[in-house]
Symmetry: C2
Subunit: 243 residues, 2 copies
Amino acid sequence: MERDVSAKIRLYVEHPLGEAQTLPLSREQAHYLFGVMRQGAGDHLLVFDGKCGEWLAQLEQAGKRGGTLRVLEQTRPLRMPPDLWLMFAPIKKARTDFIVEKAAELGAARIIPVQTAFTNAGRIQRDRLQAHAVEAAEQCGGTFVPEVTDLQKLPALLDGWNADRRIMFCDEAAPSGAPVLPDAPGPWAVLIGPEGGFSDAERQRLRGLSHAHPVSLGPRILRADTAAVAALTLWQQALGDWT
Amino acid sequence: MERDVSAKIRLYVEHPLGEAQTLPLSREQAHYLFGVMRQGAGDHLLVFDGKCGEWLAQLEQAGKRGGTLRVLEQTRPLRMPPDLWLMFAPIKKARTDFIVEKAAELGAARIIPVQTAFTNAGRIQRDRLQAHAVEAAEQCGGTFVPEVTDLQKLPALLDGWNADRRIMFCDEAAPSGAPVLPDAPGPWAVLIGPEGGFSDAERQRLRGLSHAHPVSLGPRILRADTAAVAALTLWQQALGDWT
């Protein structure tokens, strides 16, 4: 059988994948594949479930409200990102979406929206943010989708923190040229504050934690979304899977 | 006289600034200051011109279609970014705007939209992109505004290139874990390709340039806007003013 290995469409599915399975398509997936992307029965695509790698699949039945696909063979194994979390204070909608997208692209394993003293958002739309993480993984060839958690309050998060996980604490008030990351492998989390920065009390608490490492992101003030991308980049370069 | 040093509004003005000057406000500036921000005569703000640093100023006349401000005293000298250019292939509108905003925040000195073999955009709105760079500088406390040039074709740009300026060539096809930046101070330019990457001919030409250094941005495929932020971050950390 001839394989269309040039399949460009990548779809995240919630079912655990394995050879010779037939999977149902949701209404949204059917709309995307057959309505938007003009695919039909017989066409190939790539699917991944976030756990079992990436698989070549073929569309079997195509309908307006659903359909089925058949899983053919694994094209790539699961590639886990490093054990890096991103904690960030949600900001305006578009920029929050952007942070989640970029965190998924840059290989964060978990994304935790955090409510700080100066965070405006009192709630988030977790499902929408999770959908952005899925879309980023689909677009960018990832086989893993980071979980987006519910909004958590910073004090409670720090109360329950396992000190084995170091915190890269991106602090506007850190002296420029501050020591960069210690060469410490293992679990980490990046912490980005809101546009107004951290409160004095938050900064004091974080500076008192031996597992938190204040880091400066240069002499210019960065927006929170820029800071998130810059911090994840620096971590990946120093301690992650970029080298 | 009491100074309102908590002035939060920062405005870019095109006039060269100096002590005790009176400057006219444009219609747009008047609308922003008096309509949107509810300022009035007597209120203070910060102004910068991209050349003479940041100055405290006071609004003198407030009108619907204009007004004047008086420049009081310099609050910060001009801080030039390093001699780093960003060359990028324009993509969808929102993401192109984003790249320009981020480049200004991250301290690029010049922003060059580049037409490559796989670039969709045949033209750009230079004035709109320049306005984004100005807004980013206003927001982020910068005293310098990078120039956004007209769209340039990559082959012509490379033909006229001064080899003293090294190129950080962000290549999806570079081997992961490729050597990072050489420790070479002096002028640099970051080059980011379009979503489809570079053509074989472009890649071959760039690889043949002794002043171009291919760099890998990790094992995941990054969108062009993510790649731009990540590359500028790595450069600033290695060779720029972040350390």
